[in-house]
Symmetry: C2
Subunit: 339 residues, 2 copies
């Protein structure tokens, strides 16, 4: 076998190194941690009493297919980071650092550079360090020019400030914060409806929607960090649920204490993308709130006596919100009733 | 669209939940952190001066294809964990917790259960907590019954105890610790040689090798934690390099200070798997030490005056080792010369 045997087996260390160089230069420009060593360092500051690390792993799911179809690769990294930020934010944790994993059939330095630039944007937007990552070339695993990404976040919160929903009780109120689109859930169904059933393209326009189908489906998963931070500082929250896979139906119960349920009233305006999808796809009501976020990306649970302070704080942050329901006693049956 | 629209789009929340239940029951039996929330908690103990978190993300690469071919899914999780442990161990860090990401075309609770049982074994073997993870069903991304996994580790070390190779100088010695096989690198080339060129099967036997081809290729990536821990405690190490992708040629220079190079003598017995692969695949000498670990999975750099203490400590741990080279002045050219 001649020199370059590994290249022939479909793996290029040179191409990999090129991608790493590109990432390095971006990372250096942004003043974050050195890349290219075995691991990344994060010195812990002292001063917090009983610090608790909170960590989460996530992916972007089949939303990546929209990036492949549109050729837009610089937003999925923000989806990834923001998703992870929200997952630890629900416990009151502040993000410290992030690592990413990117695997592709063939590492195209250009595409990898765009993906990682999105990850860096996401980290900067959440005041967090990109501490490291892995870029793996895996021929035979992914279709040509496709990839998968995963992200890992570590945040911190003082033990006394952990928000775990334990104090939630009957009469508490549910505030919904608007999502920016599908976020990172329901894409397999959305793609089936839009591409397989309606035979639309990413460049297609439908009258109900502001942007093209591709742009609508690529809207970046929001981070709720900035909107929620003042509420955390003022200790106004009893619980928070990030509405990801499983929708309102499965995510809200994750923080409810035994013996409680919630009733959610459809008080918020359904964003056009969701009405378009559920109508075009004839998605039955029972499934809508399980597969899609239906316009609510984060649910806050608060004591009703704190409502006016919560409203004032959200308004100060320029954050939209809806009073969407309340906590009731659990009388058996579904723990989330939507009416 | 009838009820079950999401299932028809190729995603089953029920199947996903089954997999989660299986993982949960394993995790509970092993007494580690609760799974099924948005993130995992890790309370930090006090008492360490200037603690530094060290973190790394990694995958298993195309070694997974061997798991697919053999149907053995309960070892790749150990590869993943041990790889990550070694990546932070090289800085002197002790593992704290781990998270995994598993993505599959179709989540088979049985296969996912086996993969995660390997991850748990790995975590237990390294005295580390499995803090959480994500299992993503991504139809259209992976071939039927295939999957990818990524892992993420967080460890800790006191700032004063960080090992970064800075003090390495001319005359220092290189100790090689044996690998257990290919570890997680060079699989694309190994598979090409074994399956495409030699047309062997995973069940094939060749006279040079003890086990079947599949078993040889699946040998678990070792963790060096237990072997190295006493050396860390006694402050006997100046630097450590985990020999992963890029082999001895690219991994040793990662810890060398400017102005230094190394000369490596092929003093250790080449394990049969490597001689078989490089001969059968006619892999040129220049490439062998870049693609494969060639029998050395970890390199320790030590002061020659500490050699006898290092040898004694490794012998006490029952660890095999080889004196494989020394640090020289860099006179230009390759920073690693192998002769």
């Amino acid at each position: 076998m001649p020199k370059g045997a590994y290249e022939k087996a479909g793996v290029s260390i040179d191409r990999g190194n090129q991608a790493v160089e590109r990432i390095k230069s971006m990372v250096q420009r942004m003043g974050v941690q050195e890349i290219g060593k075995f691991g990344g360092f994060f010195p812990l500051k002292g001063g917090m009493r009983n610090p608790v690390l909170v960590s989460s792993a996530d992916g972007v799911g089949t939303k990546l297919k929209i990036a492949f179809l549109t050729g837009v690769h610089n937003t999925v990294g923000r989806d990834l980071v923001n998703h992870c930020v929200n997952d630890i934010l629900v416990y009151g944790a502040r993000p410290l650092f992030f690592l990413d994993y990117l695997a592709a059939g063939r590492v195209e330095p250009d595409v990898v550079g765009q993906v990682v630039s999105g990850v860096l944007d996401g980290c900067l937007g959440n005041e967090m360090v990109l501490l490291g990552g892995e870029t793996a070339e895996m021929p035979g695993f992914y279709n040509a020019s496709e990839y998968d990404i995963a992200g890992f976040i570590v945040g911190i919160v003082a033990k006394a400030d952990v928000i775990d929903g334990r104090s939630i009780c009957k009469g508490d109120l549910l505030i919904g914060l608007p999502s920016s689109g599908l976020h990172t859930n329901g894409y397999s169904l959305a793609r089936r409806i839009v591409f397989d059933e309606l035979h639309l393209k990413v460049s297609s326009r439908v009258s109900e929607l502001e942007l093209t189908i591709g742009e609508e489906l690529l809207r970046v998963h929001r981070s709720y960090l900035k909107a929620v931070r003042p509420l955390l500082r003022e200790k106004l929250l009893k619980g928070m649920a990030h509405i990801t896979g499983g929708g309102l139906m499965e995510n809200v119960p994750r923080i409810l204490p035994v013996g409680t349920s919630v009733v959610i009233e459809k008080t918020w305006p359904l964003p056009p993308l969701f009405s378009f999808l559920v109508q075009a796809g004839r998605v039955p009501p029972a499934e809508r709130y399980r597969v899609f976020n239906m316009g609510i990306g984060m649910v806050l649970v608060i004591d009703p006596r704190k409502l006016s302070r919560v409203e004032a704080a959200l308004q100060r942050m320029g954050e939209g919100f809806y009073l969407i329901g309340q906590v009731t006693e659990n009388e058996g049956g579904e723990r989330v009733r939507i009416r």
